[in-house]
Symmetry: C2
Subunit: 461 residues, 2 copies
Amino acid sequence: MKQDKDLNYNLPSGFDIELIPSEKRLELHLLNIISTVFESYGFTPIETPAVERLEILQAKGNQGDNIIYEINPIVTSSEDDESKPGKSDRGLKFDQTVPLAAYIARHLNDLVFPFSRYQMDMVFRGERAKKGRYRQFRQCDIDVIGRQDLSIFYDAQMPAIIAEIFSRINIGEFIIRINNKKILQGLFEFFEVEAEKIKLCIQTIDTLEKVGKQRVKQDLQLQGLSEEQSGQIISFIELKGTVDEVLNFLKQKSSIIEKSSIFAAGVSELQSVIDGIRKLNVPETQYCIDLSIARGLNYYTGTIYETTLIDHESIGSICSGGRYDNLVGMFVGERMPGVGISIGLTRLLRKLLDNNILAPMSANPAQVMVLNLEEELIGFYLEISKKMRDQGIRVLTEFKSIKIGKQLKKADKLGISICLIIGSEEYKNNSCRIKMLKTGEQIDTSIDNLNDELQKRLKLN
Amino acid sequence: MKQDKDLNYNLPSGFDIELIPSEKRLELHLLNIISTVFESYGFTPIETPAVERLEILQAKGNQGDNIIYEINPIVTSSEDDESKPGKSDRGLKFDQTVPLAAYIARHLNDLVFPFSRYQMDMVFRGERAKKGRYRQFRQCDIDVIGRQDLSIFYDAQMPAIIAEIFSRINIGEFIIRINNKKILQGLFEFFEVEAEKIKLCIQTIDTLEKVGKQRVKQDLQLQGLSEEQSGQIISFIELKGTVDEVLNFLKQKSSIIEKSSIFAAGVSELQSVIDGIRKLNVPETQYCIDLSIARGLNYYTGTIYETTLIDHESIGSICSGGRYDNLVGMFVGERMPGVGISIGLTRLLRKLLDNNILAPMSANPAQVMVLNLEEELIGFYLEISKKMRDQGIRVLTEFKSIKIGKQLKKADKLGISICLIIGSEEYKNNSCRIKMLKTGEQIDTSIDNLNDELQKRLKLN
């Protein structure tokens, strides 16, 4: 076959998210852990199409940073096409939240509220490509959406879910940092910052880790705070301590509590969240209160979360989220408060692999490979493979007559741990040889005992 | 919150593939069955991005019927965007085969051949929207790709895989119809149809079920066959009988076999496929040889498959595929023969639901709902929910203090079968009430026995 040398078969920039089989199997393994934990808390799966109307994607004002891809059919001469030239009215979703809002409006009468859903779809963002930033990626999101109100205990479940997932994924120590945006808001109210400037101040705090406290102090002064006030704010948000120490510190701020009811509400919510987390038995080594996390995104209105790996801070937040009051009710025309978290799995998986925190799995899911020693035994190989499959064993049957050494090498490359060797001699004697690739161990057994021998060894793996 | 009344939050035409939770859970259940069977035969998962370069998507000549969507970032004033005005060079994939060919070229050295992969991604086609035709849909594909050659026994595994999947999905009786395109090709060679017209003749045969045999007879005559020859061809392809009867019929066509080596090769391949299927223990009620199936698509070169539900023929083929010689090697510049099958899951699921062949699952994955009888017991509800989760039980905890009747109704609507009722009285006595929603049965038990009682009842479900 002639190769078309001029064709560039590489993926377009930013879409190079493709995994080789051993990595893809790891992703599926992680997705399975994540969805299992989500479902154990009663989150139900949904999926929305990649495509929505542009008017919906562009409805939410504060997402201007995400460049939307519009889609257009390439018009051909065929009569049977979607002959729709001109301006597109459809685009690819850039997050799961706008589609969730539309989904709720579309299926309002089919849903039970509070509606707890998870979603692990791909999203698309036409941002400038740079290393580690993708234009298509998988986001694993959960959200609970209430009608009119939503119990604070849903906020308490989120850290328990995060902790359960990352403990099961087994990626070393992590810390879930919890704060409540009302506390920050109340703090600025106390210092009599004008309402419209509070947002900017909170965004400034959000840059603390990136730019350092000197810069944040300067930036706060640009918003009209005095040097002393800015210093007080920095000391406040930098407070370190056990969960109880921080809670006590907050409760003792009676001058702020008296002046700002929103501060008081934030402290009380934080207390409830911590109470709930404790009842859900999350080890205190896995979470803390961090008054400096601010989640610059304007839509968060209460509890906020960020999760980092303790030995790999450079990876950044691996799971974040929070409480919002006004994000998903817009198409229904109702107040629908929600709380949610998100794992950017495509980016996280790449980082975990690149930093050797997780290793790829075997390239093939088969547990046993049946070698091909004699062409005329292929019928028997098929038969015995099927019998193993009937016992729940995943089996790859080799049909190519190549040297046995090459076949073993192939099994090894695929990460298959057991090879089954049956030549004409074994076939005559109704026996077979089981070869364990990692140890080199070989066992000769009768075909009748094969299943027992395999089950024993597969459990060992 | 004010609703924006002017916004149309419905999905664009052809993208209305969205499922309500009880249906989405069924889809995940089917995907789980399908991937489990795929993996039991050593197929490994891959996924390719939705986006490829247009030059790649348009490289394969014979896919002009699928209108490709190009994507373009909507250019905004932001400096940080993908400022790429003008003609797009990227589009959405319309099948899994072109991306597979590109994937193989991209990862050639990481793959082991024959390469057996499965893929269950979404594909996009800008076809004219009509009922039951979607512009985005999930396709579940497996393919085995060889380098230079590929054993015919891979063709034999495909019907075994199809049979296993549809037996497990439990959708009633089905039949896998098997043919070999070489037999049809040889038949027309025998009648001395010119090479370039054979394709058209095979496409004509493909229309038999749709237009009837009189029309096919006429159309064959338009290709230069005599009335008698056309009649002979119709009788040939209409032959009914057991697998052995059809094979014997073919082997007795010595005049064709002598004249057409390709006919002889087709019969011999078909014999091997049937031999393999028998070794794989597929019941003969689930497959047959049907010489009239032709799979109009030009790229098939050997074995072809179509699967239909016996009691629901109107649904059409639920799984089809075949052997191709020249479909995926194009970017590598090598002969890479393959064999594969495809399940159009989005369309199939919709049909199975609409025809009441499968029923939706429960709307929520939770097995137990902990009712909220007393606000001050919420801490205890969280605690006991966590304990159940630690035993592998999926639990939804209710935080809203509404009437118990309403809570039971909610559990029922979500399809949760067991409710746990703990009021202040039960709490004091360290006891609880288990209510089975379907039977109305109620059991009072101590908290210490709760897990045993639940495990017993969950097994019954």
